[in-house]
C-alpha cells in the first residue's frame, strides 16, 4: 500500500473515509425514510419477508474482522455498483408505474441513487489510494432480471432498499476500520464500532 506511506495520502484516505462514513450514514437515514414511504406508496406490508436480492453480495459476512481493507473496499464497491443498477431500474419502473403522480418518491429514489453513486466513487478513490485500480463495471452488477410481475417488482424494490440499509451499516463499519491509523494494508483487524 504505497499510498499509506505518504502523509497526504493518509490524510486523503482519512478524509475519504470520514466523509464516506457520513455519506453512508445519511444514505442509511434516507433509505430508512424511503423504506417507509416506499412500503406505504407501493401498498406493501412492512413486515413482508423478501428473499435475498440476486446479484447483491450479502452485507452479513462471516469473519468480517479478518477481512483486509482492500477486500472490504472491493466487496463494498461490488455491492454499491449493484445497488446503483438496481436503484436505477427501480426508478425507471417507478416512473413507468406512477408516472409523475408520485414525484416525491421518485425524487427520494433519485437522491438515494445519487448517494449510492457518490459512495461508489468514494470507494473507487479509496481503492486507488490502496494502489488498486477499481475493477471495471463490465462484470459487476446483478445479472439481467427476467420479466417480473408488478408485485414482484415491488417486492424486489423493497428487498433492494432493505439490503441497501444493511450495507450502509456495514460500509460505515468498514470505513471506520479503514480509517484507523494502522500501518498495515488492512490485514490488521480493526475495532468494531457500531454506526
Amino acid at each position: 500500500m504505497a499510498g499509506a506511506d505518504s502523509p497526504s495520502a493518509a490524510l486523503r484516505r482519512r478524509d475519504l473515509c470520514t466523509r464516506g462514513i457520513r455519506l453512508v450514514g445519511k444514505m442509511r437515514s434516507d433509505v430508512i425514510d424511503l423504506l417507509d414511504t416506499y412500503v406505504e406508496r407501493q401498498g406493501l406490508d412492512a413486515s413482508a419477508s423478501v428473499a435475498a436480492v440476486e446479484g447483491v453480495p450479502p452485507a452479513a459476512v462471516e469473519r468480517w474482522d479478518e477481512q483486509t481493507g482492500t477486500q472490504r473496499l472491493l466487496e463494498n464497491l461490488a455491492a454499491y455498483r449493484a445497488f446503483r443498477v438496481l436503484l436505477a431500474q427501480m426508478l425507471e419502473e417507478q416512473r413507468e408505474q406512477l408516472g409523475e403522480a408520485d414525484a416525491a418518491l421518485g425524487r427520494a429514489l433519485a437522491s438515494v441513487l445519487l448517494q449510492v453513486s457518490a459512495f461508489a466513487y468514494h470507494l473507487e478513490e479509496l481503492l486507488q489510494l490502496e494502489s488498486r485500480s477499481p475493477p471495471s463495471e463490465e462484470g459487476d452488477g446483478p445479472p439481467p432480471q427476467p420479466h417480473l410481475s408488478l408485485f414482484e417488482q415491488k417486492l424486489r424494490g423493497l428487498g433492494v432498499l432493505r439490503e441497501l440499509a444493511q450495507w450502509a451499516v456495514r460500509s460505515a463499519r468498514d470505513l471506520r476500520q479503514l480509517a484507523k491509523p494502522s500501518p498495515g494494508t488492512g490485514s490488521a483487524p480493526g475495532l468494531a464500532e457500531s454506526p
Binding site: R22, S29, S111, L114, A118
Partner: protein, 916 residues
C-alpha cells in the same frame, strides 16, 4: 443640357430597377451585397467590410466599384477608408469599431450624381464576457431533507450583448445539468444537493464574441450548509436559578452533527446573554441554563451549525419564555427616616420609609415588611414590632436614640434585616466638599469622606419648586464610595441635594448643595420698574425670578437702558440684588429699560419699561420759587413803603383833592338856605311853574385861601374839557359805568340820572363835613364832580324810584345827543329798561322834566333842540311812552331862554369855573 442629364439618370434608375426585378425572379434584387453579413464586433477592434457588385449590374448600368460610397447611418465614410479591390469589389476599413453605427450601407454614385443604395448591414458592437469572479455558494436547509444550494458570482463588465451565464457542477464521475439563472446574471439556485462528495462548481459566461469560465470551486456541500434553527423550543423550571431548554433538531445526526448557541435575557431588557459556547458545542436536544435570577421571566433563543464550525450558523429560533421559581429575598430593603420635631421639642414624628426591593432582590412577591423599633436609650424598653404592606411607617416617639430593623418577606422566606440607627442628634462629622456635577445624562454627586469610618451614606434630593413642596427622594450608597449618580433627575430643574454619613454609632449632619442636571436660559426675564425717578437718576426695582423660571443658576442680571435715539447702555448687576440706581441720566428724557437674567446657558430679557426723567431735580423748584417769592414780597414791601412815603404825592395823582364845600364861602349862607332847602316834598321844593329858587353863591375872601391853586387845577381841567365838549353835564357823582374821574366828567350823565331827583340836593353843600369840619348842611349850587352819596341816597328816599327814572332818561337824552359815540351801551340799555315805567309815572316825568329844566344848567339847553332831533328817532323806536317825551321837551325852549340872567353857572360855562 441639364434636362438631358436628368433623363439619362432617370433611365439609369429604371434600368437598375429592371435589373433588380429580373435578378430576383420577380422580387427586388440588389445589385450587390456586403460581406460580412450583420457582424457582431468587439468594441475597439478594427473591421473591414466588402461591397461586391453583381456582374449583371455592370453590364446594364456601367456601375463599377470605384463609384461605391460607404455610409454609416446616412453619414458618408471618408474615402480614405475605401479601397477598390477590383472593378466589382470595394472595401471599407474601420480601425476602431466604436465609431461604427448601424446601418452600414454600400451606395453607388451613378451618372448624373444620383446616389443609389446597393446594400446595407447591421453592425452589432459589444464586448466578450469577462471571467466571472468571486463565485461562492451556500446551502440553505429548506426542510428536514431538502437542501438548496445558492451560488453567486460577479458577472463582470457589461458586454452590450446578450450574454448567457450557466452554473455548472459535477462530481468527478457524474455530471449534473447546468443551472441557468432566471432574470439575473449573478446567481443561481441548485434545488437538490448531496453531501459528502466533493462537488466541482464553476460559472460559464458566453455571448457572440466569446466564452469565459470562472475558476472552479470544489467543495463538499455539507461544509457550506446553513441549517434551519432547532424548533419546538420549550422551557421548564427546575430550580429558582435554573431553567431547562428542550428542542428538536431539523437536521439528522448522520447528516450533520450540530453545535449550538443559546441566548437569553430578562423580559424587558434589551441585551442578550449567551450560554458559554463550549457548554453547547456538542450535539444535543436539551440544555439547562443556570445562574438565573429567581422569580424572573426569561426569553430564550437557540441556533445551530455544523459541529466542526465549518459552514454557517442558522438563524436564531423564535423566542421562548420561562419563569424561574421564587426564592427568599436576597437582601433587606434600604431604609431611611425623616424626623419632624416641629410639634414638640421632646417628641418626634418619625417617618420611616424604605425602598421596595428590586425584582432581582425580592426574588418573588413581597407579602409584607416586618419592622422592629427599639429604643436604645433605655435598656428595658420593649421592642415594638410592626407588619406593614406599604413602604413607609409614621411613628410618634419621644426624642431619643432608636434602632430600626426592616425585613421583607415573600412566600419562600424573609430577607436579611436592614438596620437603621437613629440617634438623638446628628453629632458626627459631616461630609465635606460636597459637589454635584452633570455627567452624561445623570447628576453625579461627590463628596470627601470624613476621617471616621462610614458605614454608608444617605443621599437625599428633592426638586425645588415654587409650585410644590420639596418631595424628598433618597438613595443609599456604600461607605467606601465618595460619589454616585442620581437617577430620575430632570433637566432645567433645581435640585437640593443633601448627604448624610451614617456611622456605626450615629449619624453625621447633612451637607446640602443645589444643582442642575442641565441648565437652560431663563424661561422669562425679570420685570423691571422704577421705584423713584429723578432728574439724572432712576431707581429700578425688580423681583427675583422664581426657581421654576430660572432654569439654571442666575449668574447676573443685565440692565439695558437707552433713550429713544441713543445707544443702549448695559449694566451688569449682581444676582442677589433687586434694586439698582441708574445715574448720569439726562433730565426730562424718555428712557427705555429692560432687564435680562443670565444663566450659564443663555439669557432672556423681560419686558421693556419706559420712564421719563424729571425736568428739575430735587429742591430745584424750591430753589427757584422761594427766591422769586421773596423777591416779589420784597418788591411789594418796598413798593408799599415807597407808596407810604409818597402817599401825598400819590394821593394827589390818584385821588385829587376834592374841594371841600364846607370850606367854601357858601357856608356862610347855608343856614338860611338850609332852612329853605329843608323841604320834604317836591311840591315844596318846586312851586309850580316858578324858578324862583335860585341860589346865589357869595365867596368870601377867606374862603379863597382854602383853595390852593393846585386844588383848583383839576377843576380847571374839568372846565376845559367841559368847554370842549359842550352839552356835558356837570358829572357830579361820577359815572356808574366809568370810574375814571375824567370820564366821570364826560359821562356824568348817568350819575346825574341816578340823582335826577336830587337836582336840588345837588345844590346842597354840606359844610364842615370834610376833614374834621363840623358838617353843616347847606345847599348851594355847585359844579363839583364829587359824588355826594348821602345826598343822593336821601334824594332817592325822597323822590322814589318811579320819579327818578324819567328824569334820568331826560338827562341821558341830552347828553346822548352830544356825545353819542362815547356813550356806553350799557348805559344806553339801562336807560331803555328804565323807560318801561308805567304811564302814571310819565306825569311826574313830565313834571320833573320841567323842573329839571328849570334847575338844569341852561348851557345845555342851547343844544337841546339839535340833540333831541337826533335822539328822537331812537326813542321813538323804543317804546310808545317815550314818544311823548320829545314833545314834552320841545315845550320848554322858552323857559330855557328865560333863565340865563339869574343863573350863575352860566358864567362858568362861558368863562370856566372859578372859585367864588
Amino acid at each position: 443640357m441639364f434636362s438631358e442629364w436628368n433623363w439619362v439618370a432617370y433611365g439609369f434608375y429604371l434600368l437598375l430597377n429592371i435589373c433588380s426585378l429580373e435578378a430576383s425572379g420577380g422580387l427586388v434584387q440588389s445589385c450587390g451585397h456586403i460581406i460580412p453579413e450583420s457582424p457582431v464586433l468587439a468594441l475597439g477592434s478594427n473591421f473591414t467590410a466588402l461591397c461586391i457588385l453583381n456582374e449583371s449590374c455592370l453590364d446594364f448600368g456601367n456601375i463599377y466599384a470605384n463609384q461605391i460610397i460607404w455610409k454609416i447611418k446616412n453619414k458618408v465614410v471618408p474615402k480614405e477608408q475605401y479601397r477598390e479591390i477590383n472593378r466589382t469589389v470595394s472595401s471599407v476599413t474601420f480601425n476602431d469599431t466604436s465609431s461604427l453605427a448601424t446601418p452600414l450601407t454600400c451606395n453607388i454614385l451613378a451618372d448624373g450624381q444620383i446616389e443609389q443604395n446597393i446594400y446595407g448591414i447591421t453592425v452589432t458592437v459589444g464586448l466578450p464576457p469577462e471571467k466571472p469572479k468571486n463565485l461562492s455558494c451556500i446551502v440553505h436547509q429548506v426542510s428536514k431533507l431538502i437542501y438548496r444550494m445558492v451560488c453567486t458570482w460577479n458577472p463582470g463588465r457589461h458586454t452590450f450583448l446578450d450574454t448567457q451565464f450557466r452554473l455548472k457542477y459535477r462530481w468527478p464521475q457524474e455530471n449534473f445539468p447546468d443551472c441557468i439563472p432566471k432574470d439575473v446574471n449573478n446567481s443561481c439556485t441548485i434545488p437538490d444537493v448531496h453531501f459528502f462528495v466533493n462537488l466541482e462548481i464553476w460559472v460559464e459566461a458566453a455571448n457572440a464574441l466569446g466564452k469565459a469560465e470562472s475558476d472552479p470551486l470544489v467543495l463538499d456541500p455539507i461544509d457550506i450548509v446553513k441549517p434551519l434553527p432547532p424548533h419546538n423550543l420549550s422551557v421548564s423550571s427546575v430550580l429558582p436559578t435554573v431553567l431547562k431548554l428542550s428542542w428538536v433538531n431539523l437536521i439528522t445526526n448522520p447528516v450533520m452533527k450540530l453545535k449550538f448557541n443559546i441566548r437569553y435575557k430578562i423580559i424587558g431588557d434589551t441585551n442578550w446573554m449567551e450560554v458559554p459556547s463550549e457548554d453547547t458545542a456538542s450535539p444535543r436536544t436539551s440544555f439547562s441554563v443556570q445562574g438565573l435570577q429567581p422569580y424572573t421571566e426569561y426569553a430564550f433563543s437557540i441556533r445551530c451549525m455544523k459541529e466542526d464550525g465549518v459552514g454557517y450558523w442558522s438563524d436564531w429560533s423564535e423566542n421562548k419564555t420561562g419563569i424561574t421559581t421564587e426564592d427568599k429575598p436576597s437582601k433587606g430593603p434600604s431604609v431611611w427616616r425623616i424626623i419632624d420635631a416641629s410639634h414638640s421639642p421632646d417628641s418626634w414624628t418619625l417617618h420611616l420609609m424604605w425602598k421596595a426591593l428590586k425584582p432581582s432582590e425580592a426574588n418573588g412577591v413581597i407579602l409584607q415588611y416586618e419592622l422592629t423599633v427599639r429604643d436604645k436609650s433605655t435598656l428595658s424598653s420593649p421592642v415594638e414590632k410592626y407588619n406593614v404592606t406599604s413602604n413607609n411607617l409614621t411613628l410618634q416617639l419621644p426624642n431619643g436614640t432608636y434602632e430600626v430593623t426592616v425585613v421583607a418577606r415573600n412566600r419562600i422566606g424573609a430577607s436579611p434585616p436592614s438596620v437603621l440607627l437613629i440617634p438623638a442628634s446628628n453629632s458626627k462629622a459631616p461630609v465635606t466638599n460636597l459637589k454635584a456635577l452633570p455627567k452624561y445624562d445623570k447628576l453625579w454627586v461627590g463628596w470627601t469622606a470624613p476621617n471616621s469610618y462610614v458605614l454608608k451614606y444617605v443621599i437625599e434630593w428633592c426638586l425645588v419648586s415654587s409650585r410644590s413642596d420639596c418631595i424628598i427622594e433618597w438613595q443609599i450608597a456604600l461607605g467606601d464610595v465618595q460619589g454616585m449618580d442620581l437617577k430620575g433627575i430632570k433637566p432645567f430643574k433645581c435640585y437640593l441635594i443633601t448627604v448624610y454619613p451614617l456611622y456605626a454609632d450615629g449619624q453625621g449632619s447633612g451637607q446640602s448643595v443645589k444643582a442642575y442636571l442641565k441648565q437652560d436660559r431663563p424661561s422669562k426675564g425679570p420685570t423691571v420698574q422704577t421705584k423713584k425717578v429723578g432728574k439724572a437718576e432712576a431707581v429700578l426695582t425688580w423681583n427675583h425670578l422664581t426657581v421654576d423660571e430660572q432654569n439654571g443658576f442666575i449668574r447676573n442680571y443685565t440692565i439695558l437702558y437707552k433713550t429713544i435715539d441713543g445707544n443702549e447702555t448695559v449694566v451688569t448687576v449682581d444676582p442677589s440684588k433687586t434694586e439698582y440706581t441708574l445715574s448720569s441720566l439726562t433730565s426730562d428724557t424718555l428712557y427705555t429699560v429692560r432687564m435680562m437674567a443670565s444663566t450659564d446657558n443663555g439669557s432672556r430679557s423681560g419686558p421693556d419699561f419706559t420712564f421719563t426723567t424729571q425736568k428739575f431735580g430735587k429742591g430745584e423748584i424750591e430753589a427757584i420759587v422761594v427766591p422769586v417769592c421773596l423777591a416779589f414780597l420784597l418788591t411789594v414791601l418796598l413798593g408799599v413803603l415807597f407808596c407810604f412815603n409818597k402817599r401825598d404825592l400819590i394821593k394827589k395823582h390818584i385821588w385829587p383833592i376834592v374841594p371841600d364845600p364846607s370850606k367854601s364861602n357858601i357856608a356862610q349862607w347855608s343856614p338860611q338856605v338850609s332852612a329853605k332847602h329843608n323841604i320834604s316834598s317836591k311840591d315844596q321844593m318846586y312851586p309850580e311853574g316858578s324858578f324862583t329858587d335860585v341860589s346865589v353863591v357869595e365867596i368870601e375872601a377867606d374862603d379863597k385861601k382854602t383853595f390852593s391853586e393846585q386844588d383848583l387845577k383839576p377843576f380847571d381841567l374839568l372846565k376845559k374839557e367841559k368847554s370842549t365838549s359842550e352839552g356835558h353835564s356837570s358829572g357830579i357823582g361820577g359815572s356808574s359805568c366809568m370810574s375814571s374821574p375824567r370820564q366821570s366828567v364826560s359821562d356824568s350823565d348817568e350819575g346825574e340820572t341816578q340823582n335826577t331827583s336830587s337836582t336840588v340836593q345837588y345844590s346842597t353843600v354840606v359844610l364842615n363835613g370834610y376833614r374834621d369840619q363840623t358838617p353843616v348842611q347847606v345847599f348851594s349850587r355847585s359844579e363839583s364832580t364829587q359824588p355826594l352819596l348821602d345826598s343822593e341816597e336821601r334824594s332817592e328816599d325822597h323822590t322814589g324810584g318811579g320819579d327818578s327814572t324819567p328824569q334820568r332818561q331826560q338827562y341821558f337824552r341830552q347828553n346822548g345827543g352830544q356825545d353819542e359815540t362815547s356813550a356806553d351801551r350799557p348805559c344806553f340799555e339801562r336807560t331803555k329798561q328804565i323807560t318801561h315805567a308805567n304811564e302814571g309815572d310819565l306825569v311826574g316825568f313830565v313834571q320833573l322834566q320841567i323842573s329839571g329844566q328849570s334847575s338844569q344848567p341852561l348851557g345845555f339847553g342851547m343844544e337841546k333842540s339839535t340833540q333831541e332831533a337826533g335822539l328822537s328817532n331812537v326813542f321813538q323806536t323804543s317804546t310808545e311812552g317815550q314818544t311823548v317825551r320829545p314833545e314834552t321837551v320841545e315845550e320848554n325852549p322858552l323857559s330855557v331862554h328865560e333863565m340865563p340872567k339869574s343863573y350863575l353857572p352860566q358864567t362858568v360855562r362861558q368863562g370856566g369855573y372859578m372859585p367864588q
